[in-house]
Amino acid sequence: MPLNGPAQLPSLFAAVTPSEKLLSLSPVDIAIIVLYFAMVLGIGWYLKRFTKTGEDFFLAGRDMTAWIAGLSFVAANLGALELMGWAASAYQYGILATHWYWIGAIPAMLFLGIVMMPFYYISKTHSVPGYLQLRFGESARGLSAICFAIMTILMSGINMYSMALVMKIILGWDIHFSIWVSSLTVAVYVVMGGLLSAIFNEVLQFFLIWLGALLISIIGLTETGGWHGMVQRIVERFPGQDFTHLWAGLGSFTSNPMGIQWTGIVFGLGFVISFGYWTTDFLVVQRVLSARDLRSAKMAPIIGSAFKMAVPFIVILPGLLGLAVLPERLVGESQAGPGVHTYNEVLPLMLARYCGPGLLGLGITALIAGFMSGMAGNVSAFATVWTYDIYRAFIRKEASDKHYVDMGRWCTILGVLVSIGTAYLVMQFLSIMDYVQALFSIFIAPLFGTVLLGMLWKRATPAAGFWGLLAGTLSSIAMFLWVEVDHSALRFIALSSHAKDMAENMYRALWSWIICVVVTVLVSVMTKPKPETELAGLVYGATEVPSDGHLPLYQRPIFWAGVVFAVFIILNIIFW
């Protein structure tokens, strides 16, 4: 099931053989899409002249304002499959899907900004594996870099395939055309302008996603007569089912459509998975590392969290509106047939319902923009980790800066080609998609344990960092395989035989994180720590973090983090 973005994406349309397209584009719509492609390529071409050094190519010159870094931080996560997958989840599970945007994102993003960002930023690392190298040494860096590089590029291919299939179903576009045109466009603008180009385009894409999708919610609420009118229609159409309460149905595994209990949401999603993704997944952290100073780096995730909190308005609400207004009942993939639409088609169906010529093109452009922002995030993060944390660390340690920039450009192309290869592989063997998505989530939870202890506990030793990460990752794989082989093992992993896939993910992440932390602590106690002088700039208690105390209140990151957190609490109470 989808989580916060690329960490776990939905297997959209995995088993669908489309018989007819959902939408037809007019010449005006085509013109809007073509203009979009021209603009992103133009931005890449323009920025090429400013991308000379490694710092420029891989970290956008570390010159981004808090707003640009913050919007890019959210946009890299706001992929097309995120939009369509979560709208589908909202139709299937109701407002429960909002947990992935609120408790599953906001606390972690604020924690990244306030607590973790100073260490990432002050250490001057260029990547998360790079931080692990500074804190724990080459072994931990190598393990995390290789896992991240492989998973990122495979995920990119899966996204590409899923998006091409979406375009085939919605618009009748040829799959090969979609794959090659969209991926080569991303390759061209990232090769030209590196992270700078990716970030600039992500900010543009962020605007397009919002302006393309927001209209559905506005007209939908107009049709239903507002929120209460929508709720009333849902209750009338689905009696006995609770689609509109966030927490009221989470008392047990059987009292909500998701088959999950509040402990899974709070500890599994809200703590381990969310914190793991938002604080250690280099795809998103890289955007914040590009900030021009420490205050901007702290503010970027806070700005991002405010926008993330609003995303349900363009993603979850259309799914709920679909429950209220669509005349037909949508079904799961396994029940799909000729003339029967699935949950995953709810967003395009709503788009077709409300949008005429021009607006339809804008909506489709929003989906394409979402796909490209996600893919650019993947390939730019892959290029950085490959060049700095694998190539420079283990293959060619001494080379000129220009050589590494050239390597970054080449491996951007290589990354896109491998992604395309993965997309074709998935086309042949659909089950690969599930395994790769699971592996990505498997890796993130223990990585969070390692990074967290590394930042907050001076006693954590280099050996412990490596062995804790390895133990957590292997145990997570073992739990995944155990349930694959023997489904009844779910009662041990997820604490209930009634648990569904979503709950399994939550609890597997929680256990693997605990195992990582326990092993890290035990090995630390038995091995020799680094001298404190070597921990300066890396660990709490050994690092002097510049104070924001001299700034007026409205300029302090902690103040805005408090504001966002207060709104987060209020929203949860309102929709309880």
Binding site: A31, I32, R49, F50, T65, L208, L215, I219, P357
Partner: protein, 71 residues
């Protein structure tokens, strides 16, 4: 804003939104005289016209505010 160049990202956004605003508003006005064969739900709201106008206004604000000027 990015210090390296004279053109801000906000200018690019303004330019694209302005163009989109013009196209979508024009398409919405055209629909008044030539309604589509299968009009969308609530087509009486003429969403194309006012949403196009919203894009146009936002786009123009960014376009003018961040238009590259020589210092």
């Amino acid at each position: 804003m990015h210090n390296h160049g004279s053109v801000s990202i906000w200018f690019f956004i303004g330019a694209l939104l302005t163009t989109y605003g013009v196209i979508i508003t024009a398409a919405g006005i055209h629909e008044l005289s030539s309604p589509p064969a299968n009009p969308p739900v609530l087509s009486s709201l003429h969403a194309g016209i006012w949403w196009g106008a919203v894009l146009l206004v936002i786009g123009l604000i960014y376009f003018v505010r961040f238009f590259p000027r020589k210092k």
